[in-house]
């Protein structure tokens, strides 16, 4: 493609992203002249550049939009939802034209006369909608355009991202924080951003993503080689290589960190479409919704960013559709009429936490129970024993939607299970807490990058394996004399750990590897306590080595159908080891997780009041619960 056209498409698409966010902001702050000026300028720029490329069709649409914006800027037209909808409609048409332009590399034939006439009539009349109500007509157009534009914009993003770190930050500041700050703060923020922009923008360049990916792969190889060299060095008592190798090691680490940074993008990039979506939803559903975002500048690997974009959008849609109540309903229950959805992202111990919370009606536990029963997810007796939290987790099951009416937005019974699967695929976890009548909070924990992970190295039957650190809760050394004992309940080993009973899985049995002959059965056992979702269990291993940063390589295709492994890696000594997938182990060991043994393992049914000094009757009843659960689990197998 022509360089100039390519550049134009990239620039225009970036501008369109900003415009979407800023227009919605404007609707909430109609008096923000600076914002308005910025919006006007962006449309103006698109129109202005069209002339250089000979794009009359695009130019005329942009011109009509600019015309309306000009009237708004001059105060002839007020910032009303109708006005904003009309301008958004114009932007959608521009997006469509950009998409066509990218596909065909030239303008296509087509008619925009109706839209242009509508825009012009609106501008002329000083804000009177044209005969057909544009806000209604708009919805379908918007929805369609949104989808198309969204899909193609992603493609463009694939081809090139702003590479240098300063630019990434800048993009985040420009696009990201839509609705957080109060108006005065926002004005300040805008000018502060501006000042920052000037100092960094000239120092950034655009780099192809493939180049960065390639660099990352090569760095990974370099790190592995470095690790091998360092391993060799450790075996030498005195070596001339010591100093240079240490320097090499140091530089390699810095290089790796540097390259990782180039891949970092603010999470706000994944959020930029949300204000527009929430606006559209609130119009469609007749609700009042305020979207607050906190921590949009939090950076994470662009690969992770791409992967969480869709789940995040889906969850926000869900919150808007199912979480937030209708205004009169909110009023009746004494809440502010406008519902709030809050996105909050922050770093925590090598991970990124994203909270999505709403102050809506919360999950209806009774309805979930009912659904779970009808769909055969759980038996009536088991249901009795589940904690509130456990019942709520059912929303992550396929085929469980509590929305009474299936709206066009969500409630089709697919969704949360897909969200959960997608997040777990990238080594993340998602949990939810909900208080009926007060709202729901989803808590997503995802790794900063997929390139390297912290993993616990363990040994089982003479083979080494890695367990992703994100799932590891603690390590326990169990023996007959220690306070942590392994007990057998109906042939199923469980670990008594701080008054909780934890189901155990023998890695050796799961992997079906033969024990070494000399590995006499000692009464000491290493147990790695792992958590998968809300389900905690112990994996019995032979030895524990320690934690290491490993470079994850995908599982070879021949092994891919074995759910126990999530990848492999090369260690410092050059040996190739497999990375275990705790999800897979949990599933393989008979889906202990839901809901039966989980009930016994859960704190509430066991903890309160149970300790080493409990009476026999208490103890018996506990064992009874466990037995029932295990029998139920067996029956389902």
């Amino acid at each position: 493609m022509d360089d100039l056209l390519n550049e134009f498409l990239t620039e225009a698409t970036e501008n369109m992203d900003v415009l979407d966010v800023e227009l919605v902001k404007l609707e909430q702050n109609p008096d923000d002249l600076e914002l308005l000026g910025n919006i006007f300028r962006l449309v103006h720029t698109i129109k202005g550049t069209c002339g250089f490329l000979g794009l009359p069709r695009l130019e005329s649409v942009a011109h009509a939009g600019e015309n309306v914006l000009g009237k708004i800027r001059d105060g002839d037209i007020a910032v009303t939802p109708t006005a904003v909808s009309l301008v958004l409609q114009c932007l959608d048409q521009i997006k469509l034209l950009l998409v066509e332009l990218e596909e065909k590399e030239q303008e296509t034939e087509g008619e925009d006369a109706e839209l242009i006439a509508q825009l012009n009539a609106f501008a002329e009349s000083g804000g009177e909608p044209a005969d057909s109500s544009p806000s209604e007509a708009e919805d379908d157009v918007v929805a369609a355009a949104e989808m198309e534009a969204a899909s193609t914009e992603d493609d463009i993003d694939e081809n090139s991202v702003e590479a240098a770190v300063p630019t990434a930050t800048k993009a985040g500041e420009n696009k990201a924080p839509p609705a957080v700050a109060k108006k005065s703060e926002r004005k300040k923020a805008v000018s502060a951003d501006g000042a920052k922009d000037t100092s960094v923008a000239s120092q950034s360049i655009r780099v192809n993503v493939d180049l960065l990916e390639n660099l990352m792969t090569m760095i990974s190889e370099l790190v592995l080689t470095r690790n091998q060299l360092m391993q060799l060095l450790r075996n030498e008592t005195e070596s001339d290589f010591t100093t240079p190798l240490q320097r090499l090691s140091h530089v390699t680490t810095e290089l790796q960190e540097g390259v990782m940074k180039t891949r970092m993008q603010p999470i706000g990039n994944a959020w930029s479409k949300l204000p527009r979506i929430v606006r559209h939803l609130s119009l469609e559903l007749g609700k009042k919704i305020d979207l607050q975002v906190i921590g949009a500048e939090t950076e994470l690997d662009r690969q992770v960013l791409e992967l969480i974009k869709d789940p995040l959008t889906h969850m926000v849609r869900n919150s808007a559709d199912h979480g937030i109540e209708m205004p009169d309903e909110r009023h009746a229950s004494g809440k502010p009429v406008t519902g709030t959805i809050t996105l909050n992202a922050y770093h925590e111990g090598g991970h990124i936490i994203i909270d999505i919370s709403d102050d809506g009606k919360g999950l209806n536990t009774e309805k979930i129970k009912e659904k779970a029963l009808t769909n055969g997810l759980v038996s009536e007796t088991d249901l009795e024993k589940l904690t509130l939290q456990q019942i709520q987790q059912f929303v992550f099951n396929a085929g469980l939607s509590t929305a009474n009416a299936v709206t066009s937005v969500s409630g089709r019974g697919v969704g949360m299970d897909v969200v959960k699967t997608n997040i777990e695929k990238i080594g993340g976890t998602v949990e939810l807490k909900s208080v009926e009548g007060q709202g729901t909070t989803f808590n997503i924990k995802i790794p900063l990058t997929l390139a390297t992970v912290s993993a616990l190295l363990i040994e089982c039957a003479g083979e080494r394996f890695a367990i992703p650190q994100i799932s590891v809760v603690e390590l326990v050394l169990a023996s007959a004399n220690s306070e942590h004992k392994i007990e057998n309940i109906q042939g199923t080993p469980v670990l008594r750990l701080r008054n909780r009973l934890l189901p155990l899985v023998s890695l050796q049995n799961s992997l079906k590897i033969e024990s070494l002959a000399d590995e006499a059965h000692s009464d000491e056992m290493f147990i790695v306590v792992v958590q998968v979702g809300t389900y905690t269990f112990g994996i019995v291993v032979d030895r524990v080595f320690g934690t290491e940063k490993i470079v994850v390589k995908p599982v070879a295709p021949v092994l891919r159908q074995i759910p126990l492994f999530s990848g492999n890696t090369i260690l410092g000594d050059g040996s190739v080891i497999l990375i275990l997938d705790p999800n897979g182990i949990a599933a393989e060991s008979g889906d202990l997780s839901l809901p039966t043994v989980a009930a016994a393992d859960a704190g509430e049914s066991v903890e309160g009041g149970f300790d080493d000094y409990v009476s026999n009757s208490d103890r018996d009843s506990l064992i009874e619960i466990l037995e029932q659960s295990i029998t139920a689990a067996e029956n389902r197998l």
């Binding site: 100039l4 620039e11 103006h44 002339g51 250089f52």
Partner: protein, 121 residues
């Protein structure tokens, strides 16, 4: 080789301008808004400026006024270049110290003629 500072917030327009000006043997420096342009001028004054009007952070007029106040800033020919074609805009630009005024979209021919009018070619 004479230098020309191209001030425009659109990368596309800077690309077009660079192509044309480099063909006319100019060394091209780019700035995406008035403030960046001022920073550039502070370190070294360019031999000429091709200036957009509507930009974020600092617009073309503000930059022009600031440039004219800088030491030696009055001697730098500034060619204003925008999509606005009404007399108000033209008069305001010239009044603020612009040497020439051209319309977008511009081409090699118009740039060449205007730059020669201000004695650069």
């Amino acid at each position: 080789m004479k230098s020309c500072l191209v001030v425009d917030d659109s990368r596309v327009i800077r690309m077009v301008a660079r192509k044309i000006l480099e063909e006319l043997s100019f060394e091209v420096i780019e700035a995406e808004d008035g403030q960046v342009a001022i920073d550039v001028c502070k370190s070294k004054l360019p031999d000429s400026v091709l200036l957009d009007w509507n930009m974020p952070v600092m617009n073309g007029i503000e930059f022009l006024l600031a440039l004219r106040k800088m030491p030696g800033g009055t001697d730098v020919p500034v060619v204003f270049c925008t999509t606005e074609n009404d007399m108000d805009h033209i008069q305001k630009a010239i009044g603020s110290g612009a040497s020439e005024y051209i319309m977008k979209p511009f081409d090699s021919e118009i740039i060449q003629s205007k730059f020669s009018q201000v004695g650069l070619i």
